[in-house]
């Protein structure tokens, strides 16, 4: 049994402790907003926040979550997240959209930490998130735009 907070709600699960968080979310809890892309922390599609840090949910085992605060795309509702989601639509970022949960979780964590990021900050924070449709130019613009929205 492992107890943690998921999207603000106390959660206790009884699964194998070595099961990655990704598959707990997707297959046990039926929360499919967090996506499976590579399984080896190489694409960022499965990014969630663990204690506020962007984390690849395919690489963190359920057994390591005791007492942690986990936020997935379904529960992210900070000021930064709202600004990111608004800017993502305004800039028409997604194409196929499959990677975008992870992009948005990484971008939200960036803005929470660095409200006015430079291009270099964006590169550093977003390099681990692959978008095969290559919406990168719009992601960059939308992060800058979200930063403006947060200021307003």
């Amino acid at each position: 049994m492992v107890s943690f907070t998921l999207n603000g709600a106390p959660t206790t699960v009884d699964v194998e402790e070595d099961m990655p968080l990704l598959w707990l979310l997707r297959d046990e809890l039926k929360m499919t907003g967090t996506k499976f892309g590579c399984g080896v922390a190489s694409c960022g599609a499965c990014t969630v926040h663990v204690d506020g840090m962007p984390t690849r949910s395919c690489q963190i085992a359920v057994g390591d979550l005791d007492g942690a605060e986990v936020t997935s795309i379904e529960g992210v509702d900070s000021k930064a997240a709202a600004a990111i989601q608004e800017a993502w639509v305004e800039m028409q970022v997604p194409q196929c959209g499959y990677c975008q949960s992870g992009q948005i979780m990484s971008a939200t964590a960036l803005l929470a930490e660095t409200p006015k990021p430079t291009d270099e900050d964006i590169d550093f924070a977003m390099e681990g998130n692959v978008c095969r449709c290559a919406t990168y130019a719009r992601i960059r613009k939308a992060i800058h735009r979200a930063s403006e929205i947060m200021e307003a």
Partner: protein, 727 residues
């Protein structure tokens, strides 16, 4: 014939549908606020139901999208066409994928229901506008009847139908309109009267795609009680299962079956991770007697030898050999293009529920008719007992459109084997891991080219001999009759054999070696390599002739004003005639594919470590009527970046028949740090609209290669660039 129509018009159960409701928009409207499963009775009494347009009493106009939208914006594009002619308020328009039904929803360029070749807009432009106009005429006829006035006296705008002081919504008239006769012909608006076509329309589904895309992708389909299957496939293409020891796997938690199917050994479990763990515990002996066991190095050597022997003629005009003999200068080059994986972000998956008599599939089906036929054949049930529910595709780039429908075939085999083993029906989702994807074949073919071309004393191309060696993508498939003529697969030579440069003396021949590695179209198909060869050769010939690369190309484009037009526009916008900033080198390429014309000017900077950074790309595109300019820009941005990804680092190699790469760490796609600034300029046009999903891809490789040549003098002919320390 009739049962197809009935099927098209009957509403499947709510859980099978992706129904998207619109709310307020940002750029232009047509936005979705929430995903609402359609209630079972919502499409009953009181609704207007035509094959492409449904209108419910609440006023929602649902456009049935016959194409898979895998990120290219087809759903929004087709909805825009209907909304335009219907004079709907974009905020009331929703989209839904059409059922699989080739009689109603065929791609008119394929003859079957399917998406590809950048054809979605081209083949729908008239059909969907007519569907909208037809629905509008029926609404007007219903209003005319109600108000007892002439239809000509009625106006429609922004979702309201008006006569004098009378005004009704589409929903008010939906039922009465549904009883009107379908007009035999309708007239369409002239371009001057368009209010939506040509405007930036926000993509209908993007708000959902910022909120987790709940219920949109096949990977997320979760019919009640769904189980997960993963398949252990042979380590070499063409090998088969000799024997399986599944005891350890079956003893693992959550595992409910191990099924041997022709494709390999499938593990069925209640959780994807448990299924993958159990798959690792299988002990399988493979029969390699029918496997492809060659290495890509060996294949390259064999192909290289073929480059020296005459192949099957693909085209010939004038006297290439004679002109080359008399040319002032001759340029010769050999090119090597590796196998490439598509690697869409959503790993392949397909869900089936088979009860012995009927089968329902859920997933990103790209050629529905083929998937449908193959499913029926594999399961031994009639066509009408199969339902295919198309869901949004998490990328494809060609990967979901396979001539053998292997994904649906394998899923169907698992469904049938499960039923045989357990005696009960359960929904099962077949899931690929990323390793299954990278190692799974269906690659852009390994392809070699050899070209000899000359320039004469006047600086004109004088003789062009061209030989290509590569597996034909469509040879031996149901699509063979589309593109294979006298043994030559057009998809190997497209973009070269049909070049519109004035090259009066040209000869091309082809070898299609027989290799057991499955191959497939990769975003822009043959153009992925032919554009690279044509445009780097033209650059070298310009250099040999001592001419500017843009001027030299224009001098050979008399016969293709639209191609010349985009080249001029891109050069002008990029400031081609003014010096590049310090340390920046420019290269250009221009190419026609899928009836669209794209020119790209790449600006690169060489880093101190010898790698190349593409800083900016200036593009011009002529795709006929620009239906949704913002989506065109997005597709050109993404298309060129996909091509850049391919030339920078991507390569699949085999050692003794086994794929060497396994996942993104060693099949490394473009990342945000690689992304250039992109500027897209769209040529205003009244020509029929053509595709934009693929045409941005071909010119980027040669544009960057030409810029590198400018910077370093090095002509890259063996891809990817990473092989030369450039990436």
């Amino acid at each position: 014939m009739l049962h197809y129509l009935e099927q098209a018009l009957s509403a499947p159960a709510p859980s099978r549908r992706t129904f998207l409701k619109m709310s307020a928009g940002t750029i232009g409207g047509l936005l979705i606020g929430a995903s609402l499963p359609r209630s079972a009775d919502a499409m009953g009494e009181g609704s207007f139901t035509q094959p492409f347009v449904h209108i419910t009493p609440d006023g929602t106009v649902t456009v049935l999208v016959k194409h898979l939208d895998k990120g290219q914006g087809a759903a929004t594009g087709l909805a825009t066409l209907v909304a335009e002619e219907l004079d709907a308020d974009p905020a009331q328009v929703a989209v839904e994928f059409a059922p699989s039904n080739p009689q109603v929803y065929a791609n008119s360029l394929f003859g079957v229901q399917g998406t590809g070749g950048s054809t979605a807009m081209a083949n729908s432009f008239t059909q969907y506008r007519e569907a909208g106009a037809s629905a509008r005429a029926m609404l007007v006829a219903a209003a005319a009847e109600l108000w007892n006035v002439a239809p000509e006296a009625i106006s429609v705008s922004n979702g309201r139908i008006r006569h004098g002081d009378d005004s009704l919504s589409f929903g008010d008239l939906a039922e009465a309109a549904g009883r009107q006769a379908v007009p035999e012909s309708v007239s369409l608006k002239s371009a001057a009267d368009w209010t939506l076509i040509g405007k930036d329309m926000a993509r209908v589904e993007l708000p959902l795609k910022t909120q987790g895309s709940v219920g949109m992708f096949g990977m997320d389909a979760k019919p009640e009680g769904v189980l997960i299957a993963v398949t252990a496939r042979p380590p070499k293409f063409g090998a088969t299962v000799a024997s399986v020891d599944a005891d350890a796997a079956l003893a693992m938690p959550g595992v409910s079956a191990v099924l041997t199917i022709p494709q390999g050994v499938a593990v069925v479990a209640d959780n994807t991770w448990r299924a993958m763990m159990a798959r690792d515990a299988l002990e399988i002996a493979w029969d390699m007697s029918t496997a492809e066991t060659r290495s890509t190095d060996a294949l390259a050597e064999e192909y290289g030898a073929m480059l020296e022997t005459e192949g099957m003629p693909a085209m010939t005009k004038g006297d290439a050999a004679g002109k080359l003999a008399g040319a002032a200068q001759v340029v010769e080059a050999r090119y090597h293009f590796p196998y490439l994986a598509h690697a869409p972000m959503e790993p392949l998956n397909m869900t089936v529920l088979f009860d012995g008599e009927t089968a329902t599939f859920w997933g990103g089906s790209q050629i529905q008719t083929l998937d449908h036929n193959v499913a029926a054949a594999v399961l031994g049930i009639p066509f009408e007992n199969v339902a295919i529910n198309t869901l949004w595709g998490g990328g494809s780039f060609g990967r979901r459109a396979t001539a053998d429908a292997h994904l649906v075939a394998e899923t169907a085999m698992i469904g049938a084997a499960w039923l045989a083993e357990t005696g009960s029906a359960a929904p099962i989702k077949l899931v690929y891991s990323r390793e299954d994807d990278i190692k799974g074949g269906y690659y852009r073919p390994l392809t070699l080219h050899k070209v000899r071309a000359g320039v004469d004393a006047e600086g004109k191309v004088s003789g062009w001999e061209h030989r290509i060696v590569g597996q034909g993508i469509m040879i031996g498939t149901p699509f063979e009759s589309f593109t294979v003529r006298d043994g030559v697969d057009h998809s190997t030579v497209e973009g070269a054999a049909d070049t519109t440069y004035s090259l009066p003396d040209m000869a091309m021949d082809v070898h299609h070696p027989n290799v057991g590695v499955p191959v497939l179209w990769w975003r822009s198909v043959g153009h992925t390599h032919t554009a690279y060869v044509m445009e780097t050769m033209m650059d070298q010939l310009a250099e040999a002739a001592g001419q500017d690369p843009v001027a030299f190309r224009l001098a050979h484009l008399d016969g293709d004003p639209r191609l010349a037009g985009v080249l001029r526009l891109a050069a002008e916008k990029a400031g081609w005639d003014s010096p590049a900033p310090d340390g920046v080198h420019r290269g250009v390429a221009v190419h026609k594919s899928f009836n669209s014309y794209v020119a790209e000017v790449a600006e690169v900077r060489m880093r101190e470590d010898g790698t190349v950074k593409v800083e900016k790309v200036t593009c011009a595109v002529d795709c006929g009527v620009p239906v949704n300019p913002d989506n065109i820009r997005a597709q050109i941005e993404g298309g060129l970046a996909y091509g850049l990804s391919g030339v920078l680092r991507e390569e699949v190699t085999l050692t003794d028949g086994e794929v060497d790469q396994f996942n993104y760490p060693d099949y490394m796609p473009l990342r945000i740090t690689d992304m250039p600034l992109v500027e897209v300029h769209i040529v205003p046009s009244t020509e029929a609209p053509t595709g934009v999903g693929e045409p941005g891809t071909p010119p980027i490789g040669p544009a960057v290669a030409n810029a590198i040549a400018k910077a370093t003098g090095q002509r890259i002919t063996e891809l990817p660039f990473a092989k030369h320390g450039l990436a």
